[in-house]
């Protein structure tokens, strides 16, 4: 039941405001005729990272009441210090989090606009749990949102989590039973069961598009359902094949469980567009997303990226990844390990931009790296800083 919205009870004021805004829009000046050229010039400058140099300074010196010698003092330009890490370049896009919550390891699942971070911990004081980290640590270091007792429900696991500023959605995997899709509104509703989905495997398989949930693969196909509940709707023709969900795209035949020479097909469920990637998979760990394909070789150290249409091919010598099926995050960035530039020198974890071919250091590699050293999400990268902290870079906030 929807609540009455007093802010919509605007009566005549709303009508007048609408009219005023429309008339103001008509009164707006036209765009400059060279807008396109200006935009492309600014974009090119931004990408080349030009930095202005310091200017000369002129000083007039007054001596004994009489205007004296005009002295020109030319300052040496200040050394140009370009930020060399992601945190230096994009400080507003980086969050600092504790490495554990309540002594439990966790994975970051979503970054909300108000600074809260949604995480999943497999064993938070005996619970398989979704929790929320407040940016200021108030009222507590973390707040439990949803938890399943591992002792009482040993066959139940939280398998996938997505969230936006309106909704939290998760997939519950249950041994011997169908997976379940659950949702909860952040404004305080109780969790609701949206659907039972068959077995969806271990891959990320839910997407949240505003207030709509898309889930799959299942033997019968991909479905969508309103996050508030309702009847799931099947996308016809999506059953019977192994694919990955990159909403609104399905990528069919990429990664494991595919014949080596089978074509990689991409299908936009929103527009109906279908294309075949011009990419030959050389190893089961290679993969395509909607825009880019990544070949990494069996050992993860022969990385090549190319667009799905075959253009923009680029090799990344000196880089490697342990990630199987990695595709560029937000269709642009890959976190890759870089070898040390000289023998014995430490390597680095870098963020590479497959569009521009540039790379920025995330951090220098420590001597040992635990399994939780690097994490990736739908739009972020996380890394350990030290034994107490990790950082998360929101890739939606950088350019």
């Amino acid at each position: 039941m929807s609540e009455p919205d007093p802010s919509r009870d605007d009566g005549a004021l709303g009508v007048v405001l609408l009219g005023t805004l429309n008339r103001a829009a008509e009164a707006a000046p036209p765009p400059p005729p060279d807008l396109y050229r200006t935009v492309t010039r600014r974009y090119a400058r931004r990408r080349s990272g030009l930095v202005a140099t310091a200017a000369a300074v002129t000083v007039l010196v007054l001596l004994g009441g009489v205007v004296g010698v005009l002295r020109v003092i030319r300052h040496e330009p200040a050394p140009v210090t370009t930020p060399t890490t992601v945190e230096g370049l994009w400080p507003d896009a980086v969050r600092t989090l504790p490495t554990k919550i309540g002594d439990a390891d966790y994975t970051v699942e979503a970054l909300l606009a108000d600074g809260r971070t949604i995480v999943h911990a497999r064993d938070l004081r005996g619970l398989d749990a979704i929790a929320m980290l407040d940016p200021d640590g108030r009222p507590a270091p973390y707040q439990l949102v949803v938890g399943y007792s591992r002792a009482m429900l040993p066959d139940v696991q939280i398998a996938d989590v997505v969230a936006n500023d309106g909704w939290l959605v998760w997939r519950l995997s249950r041994r011997g039973s169908a997976d379940q899709i659950w949702s909860m509104r952040w404004s305080g509703d109780r969790p609701r069961l949206l659907a039972e989905a068959g077995s969806l495997g271990s891959v990320p398989s839910i997407a949240l598009d505003g207030d709509r949930v898309i889930y799959g693969p299942s033997p019968t196909g991909v479905r969508s359902v309103p996050a508030a509940g309702g009847v799931p709707t099947l996308f016809p023709g999506t059953g019977g094949r192994y694919w990955r969900l990159h909403w609104p795209w399905l990528v069919v035949g990429s990664g494991m469980n595919r014949a080596p020479d089978a074509p990689i097909e991409l299908w936009n469920l929103r527009t109906g567009e279908r294309i075949t990637a011009k990419f030959r998979q050389t190893d089961y760990s290679d993969a395509c997303g909607p825009v880019w394909c990544v070949a990494r070789g069996a050992t993860g150290d022969r990385i090549v990226t190319a667009r799905v249409d075959g253009t923009g091919r680029r090799a990344w010598p000196g880089y490697r990844t342990n990630h199987i099926g990695l595709t560029p995050i937000v269709d642009r960035y890959l976190p890759l390990y870089r070898e040390g530039r000289t023998a014995g020198a430490p390597g680095s974890l870098d963020l590479v931009d497959v569009v521009t071919g540039r790379a920025v250091k995330i951090r220098t590699m420590p001597e040992t790296t635990p399994p939780t050293f690097l994490g990736t999400g739908r739009y972020f990268v996380s890394w350990l800083v030290d034994g107490r902290h990790k950082k998360v870079l929101d890739l939606r906030e950088i350019d």
Partner: protein
């Protein structure tokens, strides 16, 4: 640098509409031009992805709305004065708008996030859920920001202009 397919055509086709939107968002032509340019620069960087996954128009408008709110926060520019900025009275385009009501002048006194919510609701005609998603705020915050913005407008209308809220004057709008 090779230019991506379709980007120039998009800019050419949508520039006027985006500039009008930027003007309504910011209230002045200079900020409007900055918003449009910066949002298009960002779209240029993300063109391949946006063109394939999203609606470029929605991407640009969302970017402009978010930039407008965040730029105001960063600049800490204080326009919330009791006096209406006098320069707008000399802008011939705005003079025509102001002839109809004091709403445009009163809008200059609405804080940026509240103004953005009002523009998205009334000018763009978006539902609160969509506004919440675009501004990355909760739906409850959308409603409270809209309420407060409307209250600022009501509070700053001249008694004469309040006549426009009566049934008899609605025919002029």
């Amino acid at each position: 640098m090779a230019e991506p397919d379709g980007f120039e055509e998009f800019v050419s086709r949508r520039a006027a509409a985006l500039t009008r939107y930027g003007f309504v968002l910011s209230g002045n032509p200079h900020d409007a031009a900055d918003l449009v340019q910066e949002a298009l620069v960002r779209l240029r960087g993300a063109w391949g992805r946006v063109q394939r996954r999203d609606d470029p128009e929605a991407y640009v408008r969302t970017t402009m709305a978010r930039l407008h709110v965040s730029w105001w926060r960063k600049r800490r520019r204080e326009r919330l004065t009791d006096a209406v900025p006098e320069r707008w009275a000399y802008d011939p385009g705005i003079a025509r708008v102001e002839e109809d009501s004091g709403i445009w002048r009163a809008l200059a006194l609405v804080p940026p996030r509240q103004r953005t919510v009002l523009v998205l609701r009334y000018y763009e005609g978006l539902a609160d859920e969509t506004i919440a998603d675009r501004l990355r705020i909760s739906r409850g915050t959308v409603r409270s920001q809209a309420q407060r913005g409307l209250r600022v407008l009501r509070d700053h209308l001249d008694p004469h202009d309040r006549d426009i809220l009566s049934t008899e004057r609605r025919r002029h709008v």
